[in-house]
């Protein structure tokens, strides 16, 4: 990894970026007032728009939710392609998904259209640009509900205006260890940015991961929202990097020892719960970021994190597994993925 790419995509700290636009069709009532027949019509209208647009059609495949296997749906949730709520009730719902899964559009979730673009590392500008492009293509054939004063009209007034939620998932092990997260949570809340822990199977924030997102959607332009988010993530990144550097100079032995112990467990354990694996992977990622470990890159680590959830591990096995068997499978998967590759620098 070169120094310059580290500066722009901040992959040593930023895990992934997501941008979401909420849109509704003017002609159809919102979800709570939408009966099954009109919901079907609404989805057909979006499908028609897709067929009329070669650019959209080439990018996205249509997936009816009620035709999908439970395990696949659960793994979609673990990979952040759909919301847990969307997975719960599947009739009259559909998903538009790009082959590489970085674009997912939920049809008939809370809003008629929930368009999401994801990217590795820090890339809100790129994600927004692509989301806007997709929105414009849909807008060519669909009449999107809009009001000059309130902006894009959404089912819940919390999403009015731009309908934009931009979020960066950040890996902040040192800020967590030094108890600085709470100050960050207090400071960012004041300026309309929310910091929230990402909760997995364990009791603490999963793998020391946090979502930094804009709270408000009305009264700011899309660019202003992204600008503000970028400013905050820059500050957080600088602080986390400084703490890492300090640990590398002031307490190198204990810092390295923890990272290499975690890497050793990941490479050798026979049973790993999701919670334990998440914590160990946080240390592994920190080791790669501090140039202590090589042989694996940040994107691969993110992929592993998405794949070791209960459904992800069961899918690798081909069918649903009880927790004990999952822990064995998870440990086997980690050994297979890591044992021959990780190198100490």
């Amino acid at each position: 990894m070169t120094g310059s790419s580290k500066l722009t995509d901040k992959k040593d700290i930023a895990v992934s970026t997501r941008v979401r636009l909420a849109r509704n069709l003017k002609e159809y009532p919102f979800a709570t007032k939408l009966d099954a027949k009109r919901a079907k019509d609404m989805i057909s209208a979006v499908r028609d728009a897709l067929e009329k647009s070669p650019a959209l059609n080439a990018k996205l495949k249509y997936i009816a939710m009620d035709g999908l296997d439970d395990l696949i749906i659960q793994s979609f949730v673990e990979r952040h392609l759909i919301s847990p709520e969307f997975a719960n009730s599947r009739s009259e719902r559909a998903l538009l998904l790009s082959d590489d899964e970085h674009i997912s559009i939920m049809l008939n979730e809370e809003d008629h259209i929930r368009l999401q673009v994801m990217g590795d590392g820090f890339c809100p500008d790129k994600c927004l640009k692509e989301a806007v492009m997709l929105d414009m293509l849909l807008d060519e054939t669909l009449t999107i509900a809009f009001d000059e004063e309130l902006g894009y009209l959404t089912h819940c007034p919390t999403n009015l205006g731009t309908g934009l939620r931009a979020s960066v998932m950040m890996h902040l092990p040192m800020l967590t260890r030094f108890g600085e997260i709470s100050r960050m949570v207090a400071d960012t809340g004041k300026i309309g940015i929310a910091v929230r822990g990402v909760y997995g199977e364990g009791s603490k924030a999963k793998s020391d991961l946090y979502q930094i997102s804009n709270q408000l959607t009305l009264g700011f332009s899309e660019d202003e929202i992204i600008e503000r988010l970028t400013g905050i993530t820059d500050q957080i990144t600088a602080r986390e990097r400084a703490l890492r550097k300090a640990a590398m100079t002031d307490a190198r032995d204990t810092f390295e020892d923890r990272i290499f112990r975690s890497a050793a467990i990941l490479r050798s354990a026979r049973l790993l719960s999701a919670g334990e694996a998440e914590n160990l992977i946080s240390d592994l990622r920190l080791g790669v970021a501090c140039n202590l470990i090589s042989g694996i890159d940040f994107d691969e680590i993110s992929r592993i994190l998405y794949e070791i959830g209960p459904a992800g591990i069961s899918l690798k096995n081909g069918s649903s597994l009880p927790p004990n068997d999952r822990d064995r499978q998870r440990a086997a998967y980690m050994r297979e993925t890591l044992s021959s590759r990780l190198k100490a620098i």
Partner: protein
């Protein structure tokens, strides 16, 4: 800063709740945040999900002065329905119940004037184009860019005359 719920552990998560008809910020530790539902990017509403019902359901705003705002002609929603679901019934509800909803919308966003992107059909409308040109013209004049201002003035004139035909 300590968690505002248990007051024992460090806060790691920010969310909002409604109490006494006001939006309240909360900073919670991992464990309390998990209890409150953790974070889901998709519903990413920071605890504001259903905020409308919490706000509208408050006795001090309802009670005797409870608005009887009628029925949305498009989806059949009443204000009671909106309060119950915490969500409006259709795009037209924002029109029908404009007066009742605006105070809540201002309370949630702190502002109620959209300044972001607009759909193509609206961006292309002559009225919007005229508004845009007028703003640009004022800016050009203020910056003493008179050549630029002349071009804008001509374009505006043509657009306004075109509209009269």
């Amino acid at each position: 800063m300590l968690c505002e719920n248990c007051k024992k552990r460090q806060a790691t998560t920010y969310l909002k709740t409604v109490s006494n008809n006001e939006i309240k910020e909360m900073r919670l530790c991992d464990e309390c945040a998990k209890e409150f539902g953790g974070f889901d990017f998709f519903s990413g509403d920071f605890g504001l999900n259903g905020i409308l019902s919490s706000l509208m359901g408050q006795p001090q705003t309802y009670g005797k002065a409870r608005p009887t705002g009628g029925v949305c002609p498009v989806c059949g929603s009443t204000l009671e329905d909106i309060s119950e679901y915490g969500r409006v019934g259709c795009a037209n509800c924002y029109d029908t119940f404009h007066e009742s909803l605006m105070p809540y919308i201002r309370k949630i966003h702190g502002s109620a004037v959209h300044t972001g992107r607009v759909p193509g059909r609206i961006a292309k409308s002559p009225a919007r184009r005229i508004k845009e040109l007028e703003t640009k013209l004022a800016q050009a004049v203020a910056a003493q860019e008179y050549e630029q201002a002349a071009v804008l003035r001509d374009e505006l004139k043509a657009l306004k005359e075109g509209g009269e035909k």
